[in-house]
Symmetry: C2
Subunit: 654 residues, 2 copies
């Protein structure tokens, strides 16, 4: 029996052996843990060197971005935001440098380890953690590596680092060279990590000779490194010669050039001092005359980098470009745009931000409630061993961790307290003041003190494009005290490439049930419940207050699919559900945000604070789903009917 | 925190304790085995007494059917077909009687155990196995029970049975009464089985008195029985009095009346002799005059049963009716129809026939290939420990058992060898003769010897209604040697109540990708492959021959969803897939059926046999999926293009 499968393009691949029809009855028991279908994105399951290999085979170029750890907490918040923004351009990986003086392996928010971990877990980026080894014990290094692995990091750049002190002595049994570190990683962790090492296109400054340094590089690779990233250089042919020389001595792994767009006169001088590189004459000739003109230097730097990269790419020997960003965005993005490598129109593999922790690689379904707070969701589920795939399932829904620190670092609002007071009102007069804030957020119109409301406690960004489609209806209801914090329109089979609603591979169709989630008063809820009786079973609802009193008509408390997609050659993907159990965990967070982010802006016992507290204590959180997705959403009519009923009913006397 | 959830109808139910938002971090690890969502049919997971309880609460009446084991193998085949037919009417359960003389616990196809097991596994019917205990050792009884449990049976009717010999002595430590059996079952198997016991509305013939027999019945129930089914009776008030008397002495479980529609004069006399019941005068008065007129007696029997059942149902104390069918259909179905209890328009919970084995209760996805051979699929997967739920998944697809006995009893064709020869041709002239047979099957037109082709080796029934929609296109292609054995049209969101394509709960929408599966010559396949290049990636294909040589463009060999449904308040259901791995198991069966069911009708070495063998050895089995389900299926055009290419190409010279 032929075990090979011929692909449609004529190439053959081996089949799995039992698909040739073997039916040994001793193997007929189904394994108890089925792999999920790796549905949408091979990149989620492949390791970095395999992602590279696939791209090299298909000729798709890539880029990567290097960052250094920040010095301050707010610097870290900004850097994470930068990761989110630059992540949309489609880097194959990013890397984070390691500096012993900065406590790089600690739990501080600014450490290399925490920054790299955040990039993986919260920004969904494949990340390499640099690691220097000189002056470190093997135990210490193993400790860092174990911690990195636990946090979800899978790639290490193994470096010697700068020895402490002007002279340096080789230590017996210590790490003397990066090669020792590479060997150590392979010995302790087998093939778990992808390992990358540094190459120096003009030789390491401390090497005896260029040839010696090449031999040293080969040693590092032979010890178990998967690829090389080089120091920066100023001429394409500097790198290309180095590349040829590497190949000539038998280094076969990918070699990625390090690109540094010149960003300023002083920064170039500083760089030259540190790297001991020479700036070629053709560059100094241009820069010297304009050394006081930062903008001109930046433009030149971009132009020079683009030209050099084009030569590198055209050589056919350079599969990817590695950028030293110095934690800045503009120049790097501009170079990549001009090279056509920056993805302008990123397609989402799923409607929500994917985490890159290996244990989450098959995760493909989440409750909709955290749509605007994906980092919170990742945080609260970080202790799970397994993640839902295919279906959300039911009764064994696990507990969510507490969001026990509302100062959880990366979930802090990007806005200062002053900015928030301006947006949300430094003095609230009544509940209607709060309604106005929501309305201004929805409409993007300035509030009564002339400030735009750019965020709310539940949404740190302005309205998403998809939600913007519902702007008019949302405005109407918010004005009257239906304070919406999450919604989606119904969608009946739009192409998966739709710029607003699309996700997943091309050639598919995406669907949604209409969804609305809002805070509202208990008076409104009483009327709503009467109205909802007429809409059963078309509308599913769940209504809860901060004390946990809740009502739902979810059949058997089962999760309800609200987003799904059909793709060629794939099983169905159902990435969001409305789950009654999870809603009870979400509500804790949703109610607490009133206090933690809004009430606490005001003085204790102030009227403003009491107003927010009143809402927190007395309002209900409601979610509504319109199951009849091919029809126009009836949820707005449900709200209309509720208001009609309220308007018709005289005020109760209690 | 309030732990109760108020349902939309105002009733309260307890929430699962951790859904009130508890977030004890020591419980934050997700359990490794998630329950699936019990999506569509609570009946699949509830035990029988709970199904009854739900119906009694909602006031929905039910009926059940009793059968006796057949004496011959062909009687068994007929009985299984009867189960399939009568199963569509919606019995809550069926039961199978036990007769020690008939080897009822053996592996013979005619045994009570095997018949009951087949009803559960292959016909998807909740089934009760009768079990008599007198003259049996405890070991023997435990053996039967263990075997029943293993086979998937969950309900036992515990009976004493008829002691051997005219006199009967109580055995020390043996089973003297049904009560002993009930106790034994509870003691050995705890609460695994639902247990039912017999009641006698006029008292057991051997009881000392009616009151004594009532006390005895209470003893049986107190020993652990869940409900009672009664002996037949001729007057409604006989049963209703008995019911009141049972309640009066404290029997609270459901008591179901046994109904016997009189079917013939002799059968009534025989019954009276066995049961020692008296036929009331008002019945004999009618029957005697017409005792030679079977039709008249049957009509009277139906009328009498309907009237009696109406009185029983109107009493409000009778939740369900139990029918002694004597293995016949017509009278019972007519009575049930007149009572409005027979489901005329059965809704399918899933597009394929569900098995009732408890280990299969969450099974909700299968490969499409066995659509016409669900019993074969159940047989070949009977050793699996777990069944796919939600997604089919991939690489850990388990092996399928061999269909190692093409004489597998219940998969035998219902048609005799002679009938098959008439349909498929007692002499085949060429491959075109075979094409004609397929064409006649599709069109339901008689073949050239005037016989209708009612089945094919892969389809023991005529075309399903859904396939009938495609009749014209199917005819065209079969004529030219594209021998179709499975197909479905594309469906883009029909209501789940659609009479032809619908399945699952009401209020939902069902979808399908167009699918076509056929045998065809290798010449055709060569042309087809060229044509298919133009249709990538819209069309997925898999092409295989009997030797296992196969070609597919399935991305990463992943399963492709071809049927799915969206329902209110539920996660997505995706009940059929086209799976490349399973196709390789299916093809063994599909190719073998040429030989086992068709070729072997002819003499060894005869030209007819050689023709079938030639097809078996040289044709390919092809499956095609059109991924673009919102558009009209392109698969017919694919076939057209293939023929166009063939017609345009001169014959090759080999």
């Amino acid at each position: 029996m032929v075990n090979q499968v011929q692909r449609g393009d004529g190439s053959w691949q081996s089949c799995k052996s039992d698909s040739s029809g073997a039916s040994n009855s001793s193997e007929s028991s189904k394994e108890s843990s089925r792999s999920s279908t790796p549905v949408l994105d091979v990149d989620r399951s492949d390791r970095l060197r395999d992602k590279m290999r696939r791209r090299m085979e298909s000729g798709d170029r890539w880029f990567s971005l290097e960052f250094f750890p920040p010095r301050t907490a707010s610097g870290a918040v900004n850097l994470i935001s930068r990761f989110d923004r630059m992540g949309t351009g489609g880097p194959l990986f990013i890397d984070i440098t390691w500096h012993p003086a900065g406590d790089p392996g600690s739990d501080k928010e600014t450490s290399s380890l925490m920054i790299a971990s955040t990039a993986v877990n919260y920004c969904g980026l494949e990340s390499i953690l640099h690691l220097t080894c000189c002056n470190q014990t093997k135990e210490k290094i193993s400790g860092y590596l174990a911690k990195a692995k636990h946090l979800g990091l899978k790639n290490i750049m193994a470096l010697r680092g700068d020895p402490v002190g002007a002279d340096w002595e080789e230590e017996e049994g210590g790490f003397n060279y990066a090669t020792d570190l590479v060997k150590h990683i392979r010995s302790e962790f087998d093939d778990y990590f992808d390992i990358c090492v540094a190459g120096y296109p003009t030789g390491h400054p401390e090497a005896e000779s260029y040839e010696e340094d090449l031999r040293h590089l080969k040693e590092k690779v032979d010890a178990g490194a998967d690829f090389i990233i080089t120091q920066l250089f100023f001429r394409a042919d500097t790198f290309l010669k180095f590349l040829d020389d590497c190949r000539a001595i038998g280094i076969t792994c990918p070699i990625l050039p390090g690109i540094f767009p010149i960003q300023g006169y002083q920064s170039l001088r500083q760089l030259v001092k540190l790297s001991k590189l020479e700036v070629p004459e053709e560059i100094t000739r241009v820069i010297e005359p304009i050394k006081d003109n930062d903008a001109a230097i930046r433009n030149y730097g971009i132009k020079q980098a683009v030209e050099m990269c084009r030569v590198l790419l055209d050589s056919g020997k350079v599969p990817g470009l590695h950028f030293y960003t110095l934690n800045r965005e503009v120049a790097t993005m501009e170079v990549l745009r001009q090279l056509g490598l920056w993805i302008e129109d990123p397609r989402r593999p799923l409607p929500w931000a994917v985490s890159a922790h290996p244990k989450r690689k098959v995760e493909d379904v989440r409750p909709i409630f955290w749509a605007s707070r994906p980092k919170s969701y990742i945080y609260r589920t970080q202790d799970w061993d397994e993640f839902p795939n295919g279906r959300w399932g039911n009764s064994s829904s696990p507990a969510f961790g507490e969001l026990n620190d509302y100062y959880l670092f990366y979930l802090k609002s990007k806005s200062s307290k002053d900015a928030l007071l301006k947006m949300w009102g430094d003095e609230l007069m009544s509940e209607e003041s709060v309604y106005e804030v929501f309305t201004c957020y929805i409409t993007a119109q300035p509030n009564r003190s002339g400030h735009k409301v750019m965020c709310l406690p539940w949404n740190d960004e302005p309205l998403a494009p998809e939600t913007n489609l519902l702007k008019d209806e949302l405005e109407k209801v918010n004005r009257r005290g239906v304070l919406t914090i999450n919604s989606q329109p119904n969608i009946n089979g739009k192409p998966s490439t739709d710029p607003i609603a699309g996700w997943g591979p091309a050639g598919g169709y995406v669907f949604q049930k209409a969804y609305l989630e809002f805070f509202t008063s208990s008076e409104n809820v009483n009327a709503l419940l009467k109205v909802l009786k007429k809409y059963e079973p078309r509308v599913n609802y769940h209504i809860v207050n901060v004390h946990g009193r809740n009502l739902t008509n979810a059949p058997d408390m089962q999760p309800n699919a609200v987003t799904w997609g059909i793709f060629p050659g794939r099983e169905i993907v159902q990435p969001t559900v409305v789950d009654p159990d999870s809603f009870m965990y979400w509500k804790d967070e949703a109610f607490a945000l009133w206090i933690e982010q809004w009430a606490k802006l005001y003085e204790d016992e102030s009227p403003s604070r009491m107003i927010i507290k009143y809402i927190h204590d007395n309002y209900f959180l409601v979610n509504l789903v319109d199951n009849d997705f091919p029809l126009e959403s009836c949820l707005w009519k449900v709200i209309d009917d509720m208001f009609e009923l309220l308007d018709a009913t005289p005020e109760p006397k209690d």
